[in-house]
């Protein structure tokens, strides 16, 4: 990226940290709601350079981590149908369902393929006309438009053996659910830059208006994050709450209208189950009736029981910002990246995986 060096420069980071220290007098806790932020904060030691009274906590920002066990069980059920190929993004393969994982099913002979893009899944469908290719659609507002565009392409090109199991999630309704639950003690949100590349700032304005909690849309380089924290601290010090964009080089207030149009053409909001947060109204995306031919929910019998979450696993509490991984009895002992019990340890962006890799505790 142009000017990338500056955004990563360590000596500039310490100057920015000094600026934060110079203006910060009030204790505050900020929640990051993006797995990429979680990893960047650990990787660049950002917690260590902040004043002691500024705390950072991780929220429900990893799409793999928030996918409900029941939705994984649905994908596993699909993978057991003889003429079905399940295509998915990498991390999903290893997430444990209630009694198996896509990886285990693959070992037992299921046709499960990892893809980088939904367009790759369409190509698999084209090359296997006698099979049914189901793409496991997960991700937030950044990813969902790419899957919508692929569904539009599949329909236009007559790729009729391609469908999507939509487990997409929308972030602002989750923030609303976290704040209305009353157990979350945060003074500001570090909003994910790439989600706002698509949605802009409007959905966060609702959160700010209702809960008087500042929101700053941040980029992912160390200086982006520090400047974003500086902006949050400035609001706290002034007793203000508004939405600001730190990541201006990639985010316009109105987002990406072209992507939003494609998203709206294919999907409509639906109630959706989140791991740890339960059912949140209008926080998911279902395919519209006009794309029923590409909707796995409509094409297959995906009725599976709701089995809840693995015993002892605190992923749900960690996603709600109530506990840190260190407070989970399974962390490092039973649960590690080689043998993950819950999704927060599976995903490279999961809070548990980040703590495992970067914290010494």
């Amino acid at each position: 990226m142009k000017y990338l060096t500056e955004y990563r420069d360590g000596s500039l980071a310490s100057k920015m940290a000094e600026r934060i220290k110079a203006i910060s007098t009030k204790p505050a806790r900020f929640m990051e709601i993006c797995g990429t932020h979680t990893v960047a904060i650990f990787k660049h030691g950002i917690r260590d350079v902040l004043p002691e009274h500024i705390g950072l906590i991780s929220g429900p920002g990893c799409p793999v981590c928030v996918t409900a066990t029941r939705d994984i069980d649905k994908a596993i059920k699909l993978s057991r149908i003889p003429d079905v190929i399940v295509a998915t993004f990498g991390d999903m393969v290893r997430v444990p369902g209630s009694e198996s994982s896509l990886q285990k099913e693959k070992g037992l002979g299921a046709d499960v393929r990892m893809v980088y893009s939904t367009m790759d899944a369409i190509e698999i469908a084209r090359q296997n006309p006698d099979k049914k290719v189901v793409f496991l659609g997960i991700g937030f507002e950044t990813t969902a438009p790419t899957i919508a565009a692929a569904v539009v392409a599949a329909q236009a090109q007559g790729v009729n053996n391609f469908s999507v199991l939509s487990c997409h999630k929308l972030l602002p309704p989750a923030m609303d659910a976290l704040l209305s639950g009353g157990e979350l003690d945060v003074n500001g949100f570090m909003c994910p830059g790439h989600v706002s590349t698509i949605i802009g700032t409007a959905p966060y304005k609702v959160v700010v208006a209702q809960y008087h909690t500042p929101c700053v849309v941040m980029g992912f380089e160390p200086l982006d994050i520090l400047q974003g924290i500086y902006m949050l601290v400035s609001q706290i010090e002034a007793g203000e709450a508004r939405v600001e964009i730190q990541y201006r080089r990639a985010v316009a207030p109105e987002g990406n209208p072209n992507a939003l149009k494609t998203l709206d053409r294919v999907f409509e909001p639906c109630d959706s189950p989140w791991r740890g947060l339960g059912m949140i109204p209008k926080s998911g995306l279902a395919l519209r009736e006009s794309y029923r031919a590409h909707d796995a929910e409509a094409l297959f019998d995906l009725d599976v029981p709701d089995s809840g979450e693995p015993p002892g696993c605190k992923c749900g509490d960690i996603l709600r910002g109530v506990n840190t991984p260190i407070e989970c009895k399974l962390f490092r002992k039973v649960c590690n990246p080689e043998n993950p019990v819950g999704p927060c340890m599976v995903s490279s962006e999961g809070t548990c995986a980040a703590y495992y890799r970067y914290s010494q505790v």
């Binding site: 990226m1 142009k2 590349t197 990639a250 990406n256």
Partner: protein, 77 residues
């Protein structure tokens, strides 16, 4: 999986571009990008799609702000 990387456009073929970052190249689809990039532009790529053309002027404005804050001395060319 949510990593969306800013990459430099090195090839454009209809609605498909090839972009580069640190020696790694990726193909991306332009179906949902907000503003069609030209060769040499930087775009944010996610899951095989270009999402956004990076605005170099806005990048410069951020650097200008850092200069005012005393974080940097000079804005690079």
């Amino acid at each position: 999986m949510c990593v969306a990387a800013p990459m430099k456009v090195i090839e454009i073929d209809g609605d498909i571009i090839r972009a580069e970052l640190g020696g790694m190249t990726k193909e991306a689809n332009l179906a949902i990008v907000d503003e069609r990039p030209e060769l040499g532009d930087y775009v944010i790529i996610h899951a095989g799609f270009a999402l956004h053309r990076i605005d170099p002027e806005e990048a410069k404005i951020t650097l200008q702000l850092w200069k005012e804050m005393g974080v940097i001395d000079e804005i690079p060319d």
